[in-house]
């Protein structure tokens, strides 16, 4: 066999591992969702159409669209002024505020949902508004979650906007308002559109927030899939709705890709400092903007902590203590502490699997070629499918013996589902780092007698260790907070922390609610700690390369 043929063979042998992993835990489940949705015995277009045409489905589609549009509009309306204050203007302490604004985005959805129900629930600080289980509550939570995306993307564009453009317009007789309308806004439009399309995608696939805050009153496609499975045991309808959701997400992805291409074309690569120092007159914009943002971000988190400490007779750590005691059999079969241990074990396995598979993929993608492009596309596919659909697919596929192995209710389906969800991000963290290594460094090692495996060990691995650590942190945090896929495959007697919180939130009684809030605080602290450690790793990676 020639050298080229041998190299190609070993490439495909290595590629077999990620392809087998994705095939078994993603592509096959996805295929069975399609089959379940379209076939019932034989090809059953009429049955599919009956689900699609039902008024329940129409309701869910309208609600999904409406919530996504409202969430996007709210995020843009608040995010654009914030981008101006936090990025275009220069003032002391803005870096701290910027990093605080980024916090909600890394919080698990269940935590955000718990925080808003703590704020808006009947005994919450804003309980008198009677917004619990309302559309307004969900939209506020979506904005809370996504405003940082708009701030970061638009802020970056605004900080690099050439100030002489506005000055040129002013010399042509435009007053400040017209400079803003005719120069600034058009120049920022690509960035705004790009951020908005990404936020739209996130809002349209939001699951935990809608499920917790909407209850049975507000139903989107995502929660309708869940309800069909869990309340009506109607897998057929769930599969049909999943196909609809996939089409929906594909459309949103296509829009956001188009918006990103436009932004990249306009951006043109020239980095320019368009910031200016804060002036007294800026306070008219800055104060109301920051106040609104501060209230939106701080109030829910404050309420969450406050209510996790509120007991029947004052304040105390009773709810935190209760996390270690056996709750009522009808509430949870295990202690919340045990659920937290389950979560940590599951997330550790998920992170390990995602990072080992991701590292293999990154190694295979380091050299660009047609086959590596194809592998890249397959590995990124889970990004384009909502976690709920992944979870449903695994439920449909792996709920029976496979190759003679009984997978029914196997606890390790949970880490596998979480690994599928985390894999694209792991790959996107590792591939740029691997591609940044000069290929001639590997050639140098080879001419010194290092076999391909030792080249990988002594060059790639040594230089990628920190990026790998960062990827492990990301994967661990994602798996720890994962809710959409987990809720379909987690066994009732082996809940993870997010599924336990969801269950506690749905039970009456101050003890259960209090425990839910305490558990949400614990989950938030765990996630934030992991993200902080990972981010420190990132700056060190930057210093190294």
């Amino acid at each position: 066999m020639s050298l080229a043929a041998r190299r190609s063979l070993s490439w495909w042998l290595l590629a077999a591992v990620p392809l087998a992993f994705l095939g078994l835990f993603f592509l096959w489940p996805l295929g069975s969702v399609l089959v379940h949705g379209l076939f019932d015995g034989g090809f059953d277009a009429a049955g599919t159409w009956a689900v699609l045409a039902s008024s329940r489905t129409a309701d869910a589609v309208v609600t999904t669209l409406g919530l996504a549009l409202a969430g996007t509009a709210g995020s843009v309306a608040l995010g654009v002024p914030c981008a101006y204050v936090l990025y275009r203007l220069r003032w002391r302490g803005q870096l701290t505020v910027r990093s605080l604004v980024a916090v909600p985005f890394v919080l698990p959805t269940v935590v955000v949902a718990a925080a808003f129900s703590a704020l808006l629930g009947r005994s919450g600080p804003l309980g008198f508004l009677d917004l619990d289980q309302s559309v307004v509550a969900i939209v506020a939570a979506l904005v809370f979650y996504n405003v940082s995306v708009v701030v970061r993307v638009v802020g970056g564009a605004w900080a690099g906007l050439d100030p002489s453009l506005g000055a040129a317009a002013a010399t042509l007789g435009a007053d400040r308002r017209r400079v803003f309308a005719h120069v600034t806004v058009p120049a920022l439009m690509p960035a705004i559109a790009s951020a908005a399309s990404v936020v739209f995608l996130f809002c349209a696939t939001a699951f935990g927030v809608v499920l917790v805050l909407g209850g049975t009153r507000v139903r989107t496609l995502e929660t309708e899939i869940y309800l069909q499975v869990n309340q009506f045991l109607d897998l057929r309808s769930a599969a049909v709705l999943s196909i609809l959701q996939m089409a929906f997400v594909a459309l949103a992805l296509w829009l956001s890709a188009a918006a990103r291409r436009r932004r990249e074309r306009v951006a043109g690569g020239r980095a320019l400092d368009g910031t200016r120092p804060f002036r007294g007159a800026d306070a008219w914009v800055a104060l109301p903007t920051l106040l609104t943002l501060g209230l939106l971000l701080a109030l829910p988190l404050y309420s969450l902590v406050e209510r996790s400490l509120r007991t029947i007779d004052g304040y105390g750590i009773d709810h935190y203590v209760a996390l270690f005691s056996e709750p009522g059999r009808t509430v949870l079969p295990v202690t919340v502490a045990q659920a937290a241990v389950n979560s940590l074990v599951t997330a550790a396995i998920a992170a390990a699997v995602a990072c080992v598979v991701g590292q293999l993929v990154a190694t295979l993608l380091t050299r660009r070629s047609r086959r590596s492009g194809a592998l890249d596309a397959v590995v990124m596919l889970p990004l384009g499918v909502s976690a709920v659909v992944v979870g449903l697919g695994m439920l449909l596929t792996l709920n029976r013996p496979v190759l003679g192995i009984d997978l029914r209710g196997s606890w390790w389906l949970v880490p596998m589902a979480q690994a599928v969800v985390a894999l694209p991000l792991v790959v996107r963290t590792l591939v740029p780092a691997a591609r940044a290594i000069d290929p001639r460094l590997r050639a140098a090692a080879a001419t010194l007698g290092a076999s391909p495996w030792r080249v990988w060990l002594w060059v790639d691995w040594v230089l990628l260790r920190r990026a790998f650590g960062l990827a492990v942190g990301f994967a661990f945090a994602i798996a720890l907070g994962e809710f959409g896929a987990t809720t379909f495959v987690a066994r009732p007697d082996r809940p993870t922390l997010p599924t336990a919180i969801y269950r506690l939130l749905g039970r009456p009684g101050i003890a259960n609610i209090g425990m839910a809030f305490a558990a949400a605080v614990v989950l938030a602290v765990m996630t934030a700690a992991i993200m902080m450690v990972s981010e420190r790793m990132r700056t060190q990676v930057g210093a190294d390369l």
């Binding site: 020639s2 050298l3 080229a4 000069d438 001639r440 460094l441 050639a443 140098a444 090692a445 080879a446 001419t447 010194l448 007698g449 290092a450 076999s451 391909p452 030792r454 080249v455 002594w458 060059v459 040594v462 230089l463």
Partner: protein, 216 residues
């Protein structure tokens, strides 16, 4: 025939149409001899060097050592060293551990390794630099380390790809003579690629001229 024999080597890069970088090159290098391959940039001399060492796959032709065909032998088992234009030192390893890399790969024992590294650092004029980080070295020092690193595992042939072009003119003239002496002292067969005729004359006992993928 002892030493290196290259027969009618061709290197193609894929594309539409494919680029023919080396168009049937033949040459020999006797044991202990230093040969220079002189030509303008883009004439295919680096591709030819890469194909001889084994980091570039030839489309046709043969590479032999002492008459034995090594064309299909993978780089790491071919025993040919290569010095890159910009050194390509391992950034995460100290000077001594860079030089020791090839010895580690060959499974040389620790004591013997240390002695060999010291010997080589002495040879390239960097005695006592072993513990330094390679990122703290000047351009000339880096190339000396690269040379020492490539010579450490006693390669049958040392290929040098524009080893001095990243340095300033003054240093280049001095180092060219030094490299010649080092290669002579090591007794290694060497093939130097350069675009500078003076450098070629200074380093090599024989100069081959190359243009448009062919050796004249």
């Amino acid at each position: 025939m002892s030493g290196l024999t290259v027969e009618d080597l061709r290197v193609e890069y894929p594309g539409t149409p494919p680029v023919l970088a080396v168009d049937g090159a033949s040459l020999t290098v006797a044991p202990g001899e230093t040969v220079a391959l002189l030509g303008p940039s883009g004439c295919g001399k680096s591709s030819l060097l890469g194909a001889i060492v084994g980091i570039v796959e030839p489309a046709a032709g043969r590479v032999r050592w002492d008459g034995e065909d090594v064309t299909e032998v993978p780089v790491h088992r071919r025993g040919f060293g290569l010095v890159f234009q910009d050194g390509q030192l391992f950034p995460h390893r100290s000077v001594a551990r860079n030089v020791a890399f090839g010895l580690e790969m060959a499974g040389v024992a620790r004591e013997e390794r240390r002695a060999r590294v010291e010997e080589l650092l002495e040879m390239v004029g960097l005695a006592g630099y072993g513990q330094r980080a390679v990122t703290a070295l000047s351009g000339g020092q880096r190339q000396r380390v690269a040379l020492a690193r490539s010579l450490a595992p006693r390669p049958k042939l040392l290929a040098l790809d524009e080893p001095l072009s990243s340095l300033d003119a003054d240093l280049r003239a001095r180092l060219a003579v030094e490299v010649r002496d080092i290669l002579h002292a090591a007794g290694t067969a060497a093939l130097v690629v350069t675009h500078d005729p003076a450098e070629a004359e200074a380093m090599a006992s024989r100069v081959l001229r190359m243009s448009a993928g062919r050796i004249q």
